[in-house]
Symmetry: C2
Subunit: 347 residues, 2 copies
């Protein structure tokens, strides 16, 4: 049994979910996973920060009100976010980075990852920014420092995609993938098939918490584009940047388009995809596509996400599951920690 | 780079597919997987056997005619199947067991596995018999002898199910599963939805090579029952035997049943499932079930197979892909060999 000291950077839904899981399940993890987690620091731009090398009470952290500077309410806490101190000085073995995604330069998350990796700490993150924009640099940094850098949750929350390809498909030869990688847009399309207008479907998605107040990144494909870059680089060893991916969304689809598709046994889906051609070049796109009902992604309804791997030896292998959610995404961090534990244990 | 000497037991479609893959891909595996395979023996009750500690020509083996005693045509080959000699004396590091499934006692495959494991050889198999009926004994035998026993292909050919659960879902807490685990019966149901009678749909499946001359094991659920036992014991740590699983098939479904389901937005599927209840007991069944179109397995059409894992932290996570096929099942053996290579390399 190994106890890992962990510091949480960003304390929104995801790391709060992880704190809740630690509070509820640390005991069973000892037996089932051979590990336990001790939170030694938390920092968040809005809530402030707190550090305790002897460990913080995970249940108490999970219950912290979401009010500005709330960490100041706890003994030893501060209303200020001492990010660098928490990352470098809390004595953590692992940094769980779950701040907001910045699609332009991946900051400040990328800097947080750099600090951690340079300091010889493992990093687990659910943040698309650092992975889509700086994965190569951060992976090399991790390697140089003999630590792990894991990011399963950057695509499809805790539903295994990156780790599934890495652990179960070597030798099958992945030649491309197609994915439904944004739950909001898939939910909107599903409701439009039930007769709602685009605007009403978006409103429904907002009511349910799937869509942001500004749904642009979801319905215009920008969110999917980041995930396509991550998966193409990870699964196809491409060197794509965001600008290499042609991107359009679902806003131009009319109720008549949707209805016509249904009548001919087809469905519109927002598909993020990439393919390696015979010469080895990888091309990628995000666009609304008309799928025949027999396509493995045609049956993916509502907020569910899915990726269909196209392989030489197996044809299409598809995984579907949640693409978002507090606990679902916190599980991605846990699965990364389990992978680190395996890697460390075999050394 | 490690070269493994491998002996093939049973030389029907699956191990012949593996020989073909070795002939075509050994070179690229050296680079991509860090391993290569050398066939040192093959034995088959119908074709005979052959052994060569310096290695056999995989391409030549793959092309061997399917005629009785055909191995006698090759230099050093025999029309007789010297199973025990090939398993024990060929100098193999790995035995690839792919003989026919015997659902009653798992023989002779189980004896073949025993011989190999007792002799300190790793075993990879695609055979449901030994796993559904004798997994505990064989796993213990492997452990005692310090070797690996892998059987990804016993369920859903090369589509990762067992390894997916083991490598990507620890900590998610699997509480049950539902699966479409027989391609023939799912193909029959899909064609019945298109208006065919049961008899005509079965005939179609036979023409396409999905169904045997006697389709009983497929359409009555017996094949699925073995897979449910394997998955329940593997994923839920159950101790089920075949008799613990209530089993019925799809033969009682009429075209009218199918049509009524379609009209109410539902689909009939042959579902193999198991659930762990609050007290820890696992119950399992095979039966035709009416699924709402929003169910993750409702969209699985034709000969495709799928398993939906029900988990505490992620809800339903579903994997779908081929459930049969020569090369697809041979990939299962390769994926088992890759897993052995990882396990051996870390020692």
């Amino acid at each position: 049994m190994t106890e890992y000291k962990i510091a949480l950077v960003g304390f929104g839904g995801v790391n709060r979910g992880l704190a809740q899981l630690i509070a509820e399940r640390n005991q069973s993890w000892r037996k089932e996973l051979g590990l336990s987690l001790k939170i030694v620091g938390v920092t968040d731009l809005f809530l402030g920060s707190i550090m305790a090398r002897d460990g913080l009470d995970a249940a108490e952290l999970a219950k912290l009100p979401s009010s500005k500077g709330a960490f100041a309410q706890l003994p030893g806490g501060s209303a200020e976010a001492f990010n660098e101190t928490i990352i470098k000085q809390s004595g953590a073995d692992i940094i769980a980075e779950a701040t907001f995604t910045n699609p332009v330069d991946g900051e400040p998350a990328t800097t947080f990852c750099r600090w951690a990796l340079e300091g010889g700490k493992h990093v687990v993150t659910t943040n698309k920014g650092p992975i889509a924009l700086h994965a190569d640099e951060l992976k090399a940094l991790a390697k140089r420092n003999g630590v792990c850098f894991e990011y399963e949750g950057s695509v499809m929350s805790g539903t295994p995609v990156i780790r599934m390809a890495r652990e179960t498909l070597p030798g099958a030869v992945i030649t491309g993938f197609e994915g439904i990688l944004n739950g909001t847009s898939n939910y909107v399309l599903t409701r439009m098939e039930e007769g709602l207008s685009f605007a009403d479907a978006v409103r429904k998605a907002q009511e349910l918490g799937y869509a942001e107040a500004d749904p642009t990144a979801d319905v215009e494909g920008h969110d999917v584009r980041l995930k396509v870059v991550i998966l193409a680089n990870e699964l196809l060893d491409a060197k794509l940047t965001v600008n290499d991916v042609n991107c359009s969304g679902i806003t131009s689809l009319s109720p008549a388009d949707i209805e016509r598709a249904q009548q001919s046994g087809e469905r519109w889906k927002l598909i993020g995809s990439a393919t390696r051609n015979a010469a080895g070049a990888v091309s990628a796109s995000v666009e609304a596509r008309l799928l025949d009902n027999s396509h493995p992604l045609a049956g993916i309804s509502g907020a569910t996400n899915a990726v269909s791997f196209n392989t030489e030896l197996l044809g299409a292998v598809t995984v579907s599951g949640p693409g978002a959610g507090r606990i679902e995404t916190a599980f991605a961090l846990l699965s990364d920690i389990v992978a680190i534990h395996k890697s460390v244990s075999k050394k």
